[in-house]
Amino acid sequence: MNNKFFTKNGEWVVIEGKSAICGLSRWSVDELGEITFVALPPVGNLLKAGEPALTVEAVKAATDCYAPVSGTITEVNDLLKTEPSWLNKDPEGQGWIFKAEVSELIVDDLMTEKDFQSWIQDPHE
């Protein structure tokens, strides 16, 4: 998919027009281990690209998840409220975290899936 991008923190975003769907990459959730809780933000929350959007807790640590784009949250994945393990099982599919209406998109700050996979392998490049 060529409208899918990644951040250097490991979040992913799929952009369609003014809409975005965001989550954590497979690489990120594997680094974190078993996810136990996702502190989902309320619908209507404003996002600023690169700023923390929500907190994800794993058994051994908690981490901030950063907004890949600026905008407003329009929907959160309620499935994660009862079964946060979806983030481990299918982080880039059914384990999506939130949807947003994009107000600003700076593509230069994002990586394509191919670039992200190479960057994970060798962050010097």
């Binding site: 250097k8 923190n9 490991g10 990120s28 680094e31 974190l32 281990g33 078993e34 136990t36 809780f37 907190t55 807790e57 058994v59 051994k60 640590a61 908690a62 981490t63 901030d64 409220k81 009862t82 079964e83 946060p84 960057w119 994970i120 060798d122 962050p123 010097h124």
Partner: protein
């Protein structure tokens, strides 16, 4: 289905999962030789800090433990008496590759072996001593069934420090640790190593359900058998199937316990939420070289 309830993790347990670039080349080197550190295997949040200080922890005697402790993430099983003799050379190579000035060698429990792995452990230490005479080796060992003959095999390899972890207070030892482990057994091991002239070290996890009085008693018991070095860290449940966390101690509480440990006579203590038994193990070396343990 109802929303799940949970105790929120405190701010001081927040980590960043962004890609560390500092040790990328080294990781590649290790991978290409099939070498592994506990630091990487356990996704330790302190990895960059320790590696930056030229300290790392290598796990030997395989990846399958014969014991099943309820706090530990290592797989339990029967390794059927198998040992990989290449671990001896590889461990020494890793010390050279990483330029380590202080290395912790640890292992799974190997009750399936007649010597519980003591001989292999000693061979790894000797090889590192031969190849890297300036590198200090800390042996974080299993209890070897508290058998003096097995412990002597380890003693004869003269590690710089020998560590045996008490893990928790006496009341919680069973159910938390495997039935073959024991609070008194660990104290006996520490006393034995001390009697053989080695520096001794242990680690206690907080947050398993212990009381303040029990922590105090444990520290006193450890000092009674002459333990020199203590690490205190927050217990973190490795998966939801493991023993639950009863409390997150604050950095201030850890600082207070460190102070108490020094009052009780531990030569050196490391205490903090993310402190692990091998965390910044080389700080002890700095201490011996004249830098204070404040």
């Amino acid at each position: 289905m109802n929303e799940i309830s949970h105790i929120p993790k405190p701010e001081w347990l927040k980590i960043t999962h962004s890609r560390g670039q500092e040790h990328h080349d080294l990781r590649k080197e290790l991978r290409s030789r099939g070498l592994h550190t506990v630091c990487e295997e356990a996704s330790c949040p302190n990895l960059n800090e320790c590696w930056g200080l030229k300290t790392a922890t290598i796990m030997i005697l395989g990846e399958v433990c014969t014991r099943g402790c309820r706090f530990c993430h290592v797989n339990t099983g029967n390794p059927l008496g198998r040992i990989n003799p290449l671990e001896i050379r590889h461990s020494s190579e890793l010390v050279g590759l990483m330029g380590l000035r202080y290395v912790v060698i640890t292992s799974v429990d190997r009750d399936d072996l007649p010597d519980h792995g003591a001989g292999h452990f000693a061979q790894v230490i000797r090889r590192i001593h031969e190849d890297h005479p300036d590198t200090k080796v800390e042996a974080l060992v299993p209890d070897f069934g508290a058998d003096p003959q097995r412990m002597d095999i380890l003693v004869d390899s003269r590690p710089f420090v020998v560590a045996q972890n008490v893990e928790t207070v006496e009341r919680l030892t069973h159910p938390v640790r495997d039935i073959r482990a024991g609070y008194r057994q660990t104290l006996d091991c520490l006393a034995y190593y001390k009697s053989r002239g080695l520096r001794t070290k242990t680690s206690l996890m907080l947050g398993l359900g212990e009381t303040e009085e029990e922590i105090e008693k444990t520290l006193r018991d450890l000092r009674d058998c002459g333990t020199d070095i203590l690490t205190l860290g927050q217990y973190l449940q490795p998966t939801s199937r493991h023993w639950p966390v009863s409390k997150y101690y604050s950095p201030m509480e850890f600082a207070a316990w460190k102070k108490r440990a020094k009052e009780l006579g531990f030569t050196f203590a490391a205490s903090g939420p993310l402190v692990r038994s091998s965390y910044r193990a080389s700080d002890y070396l700095d201490y011996l070289e004249g830098k204070d343990n404040e």
